[in-house]
Symmetry: C2
Subunit: 335 residues, 2 copies
DNA sequence: TTGTATGCGTTATCAT
DNA sequence: ATGATAACGCATACAA
């Protein structure tokens, strides 16, 4: 495989000149440039990215650590991050952490190894107790929940406000016994807790009692667990007329479970989700949900990371960005 | 940031010894090893992957070029590829090609630049005419359709056989006017053409006429286009009692469109898809479909690539792997 | 405008 | 069991 030296020799110039041509630098005579380009083509020259990386101290690649790209929300996010990174000429290498704390910490290590110029980390397994693991000297942006006030930039969803709005929407449509289907409420800062908190606020604001029996915690935020739970709720004779699901995935399971139990949506029970995944508009009934503007969040995360990557000297203060949201009203709430 | 030299100095050994410790090589005295490890910990040493890559001539990263990770099938595939690559200690960098031919060719170039040790390429925009672009001297595996008999390994779905099986299933359930909803039939080797071909075979095998009016080509394989088309088919009074959708995404759109038109599935029309995406089991009605074993295909693609990466000397003959499939019968075909 | 010399951090080879 | 040396391919100061 031809190197820059080989090209230089073939073109009768120095390696420096080839490098200049390669990087589109000025001060290269057209004739020289032409000779170099010709030699490069003839030898089928390809830059060696590893060598360039070593020399420049940067790799042109950022890492994105998410639980799994195949989950609707994270897939959406990954696509948006890759697109946003592309606008900065950065490639994206994806680590799947399986939502495991250890794997999230491992992603931090890889980044620290200068494998990546920076890391966007979706913390799901890590918690507030792991804040000190983020005390690193290279760019990291947290995208998601569970770690607040840490030493790095943070892009978060408007979890509480959007959940309150979703719940309020159900109340406005006449629901008086609104259930919430979430994951385990581990601590104060995980997705389920934050969204559950918004749900509570909305109920309180509407003067409705908070019945603990209406809070349904799933072992995992999967369609399967959600469908089972919905069927169980009906089998147990639980009295409810509205359901706020903390993700669209959960909502899809709930819709299926209610259908199994012969419950009509929205006539008997109204359902709303969170995420506005592509499928939600095409379900039968179509799913009302919260749209958190994933593209904007990905864009902000990449922009913050790029800013850190370019910065020399003393670090700037951490930034916290909370995205906007909008309510998408569809058939499942009688819209 | 500490280098291997710094550690060597701190531990009172040579850089080579540090390298030996780092790579778990034998012939290092326990006491020496301990001193080195202590120094590494004290200086918070991290290997510089770029330097290692340059020296070794490999990057430990493979590229995966797909249209978009957010599409159900490709997301599933990406997740499986990342997992399979992880078993070989390889990272995966994802290129989104948007199904554009130029971007698929660009991914080949990046790989050629030794940015990746190898590339798994989902060809969607490229076609048989681009075969010569694959005449490269580094490992490439094609995962998908559109290029057959090329100069590289190829992992493909059992498109024709599985589509025939799906169509046959509809016929066995009593359908006599079976429609197919596909994309544009561009040439003989794209997904739609292959699956349409299986559909034709099954009809012929069942002694049913092939009515051109039952072949519905969409401008894009999206839920939206599929839903519109389903509504249009009903509005036009098209006579059909079964639909084979070339992807589950299309099927989801069709289910929605039929619901809009007040058509009951499976009572009036039976529907079957292709891919067995996670959502298909939870739709109302749940979707019958073809399961192509994505994990196995990803596994094979990675294995073939790794084999090429490790090989020296004359290249082995190209391998073609066609995966297995199974039919998943659910409510949408009355299962 | 072009060339020379040097170093980025690591590891393979060979020597001790 | 450990060390000295060189080289991977490129880009940057600096010189010409």
């Amino acid at each position: 495989m031809a190197t820059i030296q080989d090209v230089a020799k073939a073109a009768g110039v120095s390696a420096m000149t080839v490098s200049n041509v390669l990087n589109d630098r000025p001060h290269v005579r057209p004739a020289t440039r032409a000779r170099v380009l010709e030699a490069m083509a003839r030898l089928d020259y390809r830059v060696n990215v590893a060598a360039r990386n070593l020399r420049k101290g940067r790799t042109g690649t950022i890492g994105l650590a998410v639980p799994e790209v195949n989950r609707p929300y994270y897939g959406r996010l990954a696509a948006a991050v890759i697109t946003a990174a592309g606008r900065h000429s950065l490639r994206v290498s994806i680590e799947q952490t399986g939502a495991r704390r250890e794997d999230e910490l491992a992603a931090l290590t890889l980044s620290r190894n200068r494998l990546y110029d920076g890391l966007i980390l979706s913390t799901v397994g890590m918690g507030q107790a792991d804040v000190e693991a983020l005390e690193v000297d290279h760019p990291v942006v947290i995208l998601g929940e569970r770690i607040f006030g840490g030493p790095v930039d943070h892009v978060a969803m408007p979890n509480v406000a959007a959940s309150a709005a979703a719940t309020r929407h159900l109340v406005e449509r006449g629901c008086r016994r609104v259930a919430v289907i979430c994951g385990e409420l581990r601590d104060e800062v995980d997705v389920s807790s934050l969204r559950h908190s918004g749900y509570r606020q909305a109920l309180a604001g509407a003067g409705l009692a908070a019945d603990p029996g209406l809070v349904q915690s799933l072992p995992a935020l999967t369609m399967d667990a959600a469908a089972r739970r919905a069927r169980a709720m009906m089998a147990e004779g639980l009295d409810f007329d509205g359901v706020f699901c903390v993700t669209d995935t959960v909502a899809m399971g709930v819709l299926r479970g209610l259908a199994d139990a012969g419950v009509r949506v929205p006539e008997q029970v109204r359902v709303i989700g969170f995420d506005n995944v592509d499928e939600s508009a095409f379900l039968v009934p179509s799913l009302s949900t919260v749209d958190p503007d994933h593209d904007l969040m990905a864009e902000r995360a990449v922009t913050l990371l790029v800013a850190r990557m370019g910065r020399e000297g003393p670090p700037a203060a951490q930034e916290e960005f909370v995205g906007p949201f909008s309510l998408v009203v569809r058939e499942s709430t009688g819209g």
